[in-house]
Every structure is written in C-alpha cells, then in structure tokens.
C-alpha cells in the first residue's frame, strides 16, 4: 500500500451523519491528518466543531490561517473562508468569491490538497445536493491520488457523488462501512 500523507473529505446535504460515523471510527493513533470541507451556514462560526467532536477520538480544529498541519488531527474548513493546503505543510485561508455558491468550496480545498500531496492523497466525496467537489476529486485523480465516492444508492442526496463520477473515473464506490474499513487499514 502507498504511504498516504492525508485524507480529504467533502460533503454537503446529507453528509453530517456520515462524517460523524467516519470520524468516530478513527482510532486515537490514526496516522494522517484529515481535512473536512463541508458546506455550512456561513454566518454560524461556532458549534460545528463541538458537534463533530462529541464522538471523535481525535482532536478537531478549524485551522487559523498558516496553521501547521499535524498528523492525527482533524481539520474542518471554517465558516465563510476557503481552506487551502499551502506549500510548507500549512493551511492558508481565503475570502475569495464563492465557488459553486460555496465558501468554503470543496473544489478549492481538494485542488490545493491534490497539488501538494499528489499521489499521496485520499479524496472522498460524500452525499450532497451540489456539484461542488467534482472538479476537485478529478484533480486528486489527475495527480495520481486515490479517489472514493460514497455509494450514490446510500447517499441522502446523490448529486455530488454523481457529478464526481461524471468528472472522473473514481477508484472506489463505497458504502460508509466500507469507507471506514478502508481508512482503518491505513498504516
């Protein structure tokens, strides 16, 4: 198995419970950083991290601008900012225009992560009612990374996963349980 360096997960409508289940299953010694880019209310800055943290074994943070990326930490894109992975293993935030009506935009987070981690990135797109994320997942694939979408049959809303599968040939179509089993195999 390739030694991956990061996992990035994008989701929108119907993804909250899936994300919660995934992060609840990750052990304390999970070896990679996990980036979450989830569509959220832009004027509500607090509460989301707390809600996700309830069942997580790993610390969850909304990174500050230029914060260093640490393994075994889960990072949530903050409200009303785009979240980039910047050269030098740190985050960069941005207030550029919304992309696909979204800030944070899943495409932008995925594109910057793909650029930095190339084939050592795992990109996962979950349930969502928007096509944001499709171009990002394509970039992960084009850079040699591993691409996973949640099985559209299991998604509450399958627009996002369907758009991703149209944009690129994904490596795996997984149910939530299979996504979890896959992540637990990472050493």
């Amino acid at each position: 198995m390739i030694s991956y360096k990061a996992v990035i997960i994008g989701g929108s409508a119907g993804s909250f419970q899936v994300v919660t289940r995934i992060i609840a299953s990750l052990p304390k010694d999970f070896p990679l950083p996990v980036f979450l880019c989830l569509h959220r209310l832009k004027h509500v800055r607090s509460g989301f991290v707390e809600a996700l943290s309830i069942k997580s074994n790993l610390p969850i943070r909304e990174p500050d601008d230029k914060e260093p990326i640490k393994s075994g930490c889960i990072y949530l894109a903050p409200a009303n900012y785009h979240m980039y992975v910047e050269l030098g293993n740190k985050f960069a935030l941005s207030t550029e225009d919304a992309v696909n009506h979204s800030r944070p935009s899943i495409d932008l987070s995925f594109i910057s992560a793909a650029y930095n981690y190339k084939r050592k990135l795992i990109g996962i797109i979950l349930s969502g009612a928007n096509k944001d994320g499709a171009q990002g997942l394509k970039k992960v694939k084009d850079n040699g990374g591993l691409t996973i979408v949640q099985d559209p049959a299991e998604c509450q809303v399958a627009t996002m996963t369907n758009a991703s599968m149209q944009a690129t040939t994904v490596d795996h179509i997984f149910k939530t349980d299979e996504i979890i089993r896959f992540l637990l195999k990472i050493k």
Partner: protein, 275 residues
C-alpha cells in the same frame, strides 16, 4: 482558457512586475495568488503567459487594470456582524472621546469594511468627528470606491442579511441608491475619508491612529510578510489604540504581538499597550 499555472511561470510574472513596477508579490500566499493570476489571465482571454508578461511590461494601463482585477475583495459588508457589534458597543464610544478619531484602513479593495465602518459611525453620530485614511495599491479600486462602489445586487443582499444580524435599527438600503443594476453607496458617507495610493510592503508606516482595521488581508501574505505587516500595523497605532483583524487570522507569533493586549479573542480585537 488556461487551466493551471506552475510555480515557474508564477515566479516569472512576479519578477516581471517587481522589475517594472517595483511591486513585490513574492511574499504573497502562493495558492491564492496563483488562483487570482489564473483568474486575471482567463478574464482577459490570454492563452500564453509570455504574452501576458510582455503586455504588462509594456503597457502600464493594462497593468493597472490587471492589478485591480487581481486584488481580492473582502467580499461582504458587515462580515462577522458580532465583530461590528462588539466594536460599536464596547470600544467606539471610548475611541470617539478623542477630539478627532483617526482610523486607518490599509489595503482596501472593494471597500466593504470601509463602507461598513462609515455606516456604523454614522449611526452612532460620530461621522463628522473622524478622519479616516484608506490605502490601496490600485487607483482603479480607489476610484470605484469613490464612485459609491457600484456593487452587484447579490453582494448587497448578503450585506443586507449581515446588517440584520448587526442591528434592528434600520436597513442597509438606507445607505445606497440603485443606479441601473448596480448599487451605489451614498457619497456623503465618504466626506471624511482620505484615499492614498500606498503599499504596505514597501512604503513607510503612517502613524498616529486610534483604530486600525485590517480584516482578512493578512491571509494573502506568507508568514515572513505577515510579520513585517503586523509590525507596521502596530506602529500605526497610538498607545491605547485598537487593532481588528479577521476572525481566523493569527498574529500571536509576531514579535509586535508583545505590544498588544487581547480585548476579544473570538473577534480578534486588540489594544496597543506600549510603544
């Protein structure tokens, strides 16, 4: 359409601009800078970076236009309404006790924070007793703000929603008129604003302010440049003056941070306690 631009080409553009116009973008945060460069290239139908470089080298008018397109907007009026409420309710009155409240807004682009501040000052009755200095790299941007911003309606809808979370006293529409499909802010708001074409990167600091607003501008610099900029921001403040930055910006690792006290950790509001 150019879909991607590599580091080598990005650096070529940066060094051409630096050579001809003495504006140094080499310490800008790379991801956002590249994205913005790509936006400018495609907005102007370039298919080659060589053509772009040669045009900016030989045509100052074009360069000015691209520079104004490239600067990133702060995106919303009344962004983070809780921050504006805090400034209004806790700090503005004290600051306004000065005979003439001096406020600095460096690096304005779309003017959202400037117009937001002016509206807050007007509602509190301080608009006549202030002196505001707003700086920008781009004369085109300055002229846009002087002409009332001419914002898209969609942007104002967001500002309107933010305003409602800020105050139930009025409405953002009290402060603008429609001109065609664009929104023109009332020009009387600007009467005590002085605009300066100025670069935070290379020009000397401007001194003596009681309030410095610099929200969501530091994010576009790398840590080296952030350090230098924070130093200038703090220098611009009088002792007792207030600095406000963006809610996810961090200045704790800057040397000048030692000269500040935290007033509100959440909203990133600081007070200068010593020279």
């Amino acid at each position: 359409m150019i879909y991607d631009i590599g580091i080598v080409d990005t650096k070529k553009v940066i060094s051409a601009i630096n050579e001809v116009y003495q504006i140094d973008f080499s310490n800008f945060a790379l991801t956002a800078f590249k994205r913005r460069l790509l936006y400018v290239l495609n907005e102007n139908n370039y298919t080659s970076i060589v053509d772009f470089i040669s045009n900016i080298e030989n045509n100052q008018l074009l360069f000015d236009q691209y520079l104004s397109q490239g600067l990133i907007d702060t995106t919303e009026m009344f962004r983070d309404p809780s921050c504006w409420r805090d400034l209004r309710d806790k700090y503005l009155k004290d600051l306004a006790k000065n005979k003439e409240l001096k406020v600095l807004l460096p690096g304005v682009t779309s003017g959202d924070d400037l117009y937001t501040l002016l509206i807050v000052l007007k509602e509190e009755g301080f608009l006549n007793d202030v002196k505001i200095v707003a700086t920008s790299l781009s004369e085109i941007r300055i002229n846009q703000i002087l002409h009332g911003g001419m914002y898209d309606q969609k942007k104002i809808e967001i500002g309107e929603a933010n305003y409602k979370r800020f105050s139930d006293r009025g409405s953002l529409s009290d402060y603008y008129v429609m001109e065609g499909s664009k929104v023109k802010m009332n020009s009387d708001l600007l009467k005590n604003v002085e605009f300066k074409k100025y670069s935070f990167l290379s020009d000397a600091p401007i001194l003596g302010f009681q309030l410095v607003l610099y929200r969501n501008r530091l994010i576009y610099y790398n840590p080296t440049q952030q350090e230098a900029v924070v130093d200038k921001l703090v220098k611009s403040l009088q002792v007792g003056g207030i600095l406000c930055i963006g809610s996810k910006e961090s200045i704790e690792s800057s040397v000048s941070y030692a000269k500040l006290t935290v007033l509100n950790e959440e909203e990133k509001i600081y007070k200068k306690r010593t020279e």
